[in-house]
Point group: C2
Chain length 247, copies 2
C-alpha cells in the first residue's frame, strides 16, 4: 500500500472541502468510485477514509456512505509549531522584532523542560510577534545549545526560526502543547502593552526530533483578544486535546 496514494486521496478530499466544492452533509463518492477515480485498490481508499473519519472530517463507515460533517479542516503539524507558517496559511502577514538572543546557563525551568543539567548552556530568544503589523504575542524560546547556536548565523528579525533550523538539518517530528491562561508579568506588560496582571493566553510547547531529543521549549503569550484555539469533535471520534487538572 503506497503511503503517497492514501495521503493524496485524503488531501484531495480535504481540498474539495476547503474550496467549498464539497459542503457539510454532502456524500463522498463511494469506495468503488474512489478506487476507479484514483486507479487505486481498496486498501489506500479505505485508509484515506479512516484518516478523515479519525480527524472528524467525515462520518459514515460500516456500510454507510461517508458524509462530510465539518468544514473545519485539521491543520498540519507545522501550523501549531510555526507562528510564521500558521499566519501564512491563514493569509495573514507574520512579523517579528527580536528583543534578545542570549547564550546563558539553563535555569531550573529550562533545564527540566529540555532535559539538560541546570547551569549548562542554552540559547534563549525573546521575540515580539505581529500579525498584519499588530502586536499579538511575546515569544520566549529556549533551545539546547547545539541547535540554538545555529541561530547566531540567522537574522531572527527576518522570519521563521523554525524554517531556518529545518534548512540547517534540524527535523522537528513531535511536539507537546499545553494551553492555559496566565497573568501578564512585568516583561509581558512592557512589550505586549497590557497592564501587569492582565489575562494572557499561553501556549507552551516542547518539540522533539525524530530521534526523540527535546530541542526547544517555547512559552508563547498572546494578547487574548487576538487569538483563540478551537476544536470540533463528534461522538465517533476521539480527540487528541486533553483537559488536565493540576494536582
Amino acid at each position: 500500500m503506497s503511503k503517497a496514494m492514501h495521503a493524496a486521496i485524503a488531501e484531495s478530499i480535504r481540498e474539495q472541502i476547503r474550496s467549498g466544492e464539497l459542503a457539510v452533509g454532502d456524500t463522498l463518492p463511494s469506495e468503488s468510485q474512489l478506487c476507479e477515480q484514483w486507479n487505486a485498490s481498496r486498501g489506500p481508499v479505505r485508509q484515506a477514509l479512516a484518516t478523515l473519519r479519525a480527524e472528524g472530517v467525515i462520518t459514515g463507515g460500516s456500510g454507510k456512505p461517508p458524509v462530510v460533517c465539518t468544514t473545519s479542516i485539521p491543520q498540519p503539524f507545522d501550523s501549531l509549531l510555526s507562528y510564521s507558517a500558521w499566519a501564512q496559511a491563514i493569509g495573514r502577514t507574520p512579523g517579528q522584532r527580536t528583543l534578545e538572543l542570549a547564550l546563558r546557563p539553563a535555569d531550573h525551568l529550562a533545564a527540566s523542560k529540555l532535559g539538560v543539567k541546570e547551569g549548562s548552556p542554552v540559547v534563549q530568544v525573546l521575540r515580539l510577534r505581529y500579525l498584519d503589523g499588530e502586536v499579538t504575542m511575546l515569544e520566549r524560546a529556549t533551545f539546547v545549545e547545539h541547535v540554538g547556536r545555529l541561530l547566531f548565523d540567522f537574522d531572527c528579525d527576518s522570519g521563521s526560526m523554525w524554517a531556518y533550523l529545518q534548512s540547517r538539518g534540524i527535523t522537528f517530528a513531535k511536539a507537546s502543547h499545553i494551553i492555559d491562561a496566565v497573568a501578564a508579568d512585568q516583561i509581558d506588560s512592557c512589550h505586549l502593552e497590557v497592564p501587569e496582571g492582565a489575562p494572557l493566553l499561553r501556549q507552551q510547547r516542547t518539540a522533539r526530533t525524530a530521534d526523540g531529543e527535546v530541542v526547544e521549549y517555547h512559552d508563547d503569550r498572546y494578547r487574548p483578544e487576538t487569538i483563540s484555539f478551537s476544536l470540533e469533535n463528534t461522538l465517533d471520534v476521539r480527540t487528541a486535546l486533553l483537559r488536565n487538572a493540576r494536582s
Copy 2:
C-alpha cells in the same frame, strides 16, 4: 467490515498503552498477527491502525511496522463535553453548587450561539464546579427551551446535567469548542474568589444533536492554576486543534 471489530481492535491497543503493557517505542504485532489474534480480515485491522495513526498514538505504515509513539491517549467525546465524566475518568471527584436556574428571554449572545430569535425563551444555569472539593470553574450554560425545561425535573446540585439530558433522550453528537483567556468579571470574581480582571481560562462550547440542532451553549471559566488543555502532535498527523486569529 464490522464497525465493532475495527473499533474493538483500536480500543484494545489503546488500553494496552494506557495500562503500560505497551510502552513508547514498542512495536505492535504485525497486521497478520493482529488478523490471527482477532480472527479478522485485513480490512478492520488496517482501519484500526489508520485510526490510531490519525490519533497520533502510533507511527509506521507503508510497510514499516506500527510503533507506539505516545502514552497520551485521546479522550473520548464526552470528556470535553461533560465536566463530571471527565473528572471521573481521571479519578477525581466532581462537585457542583447551582447558583441559578432560570427561564428568560435570550439575549443577543445566547440567541446567536443557539440560532434562536433574540427574546425567545431559553433556560440558563449558573453553577460553580468543584474538583475534590476545591472550586475550579464557573459554568454558564444556556439551553434551547425544549431541552432546558427538562432540567426543571432535575436537581442540578446532584450531578451531571449532560448525563441527565442523555437519559431523557437528548443525544449530543457534535460539539465545537473555543479556548481563550478572559479577565474575571464581577460575577466570576465573586464566585471563583479571584480579583476582578484576573486571568481565567475559558472554554466555550456549542453542542448539537445528531440532527444538527444546536441545543446548548456553555461559557466555562476556570481558575487558571487548576486546569490546562494539552495536545501532542507529530509530523505525520493532522491535528483538529486550530489556532485562530480574530479579525
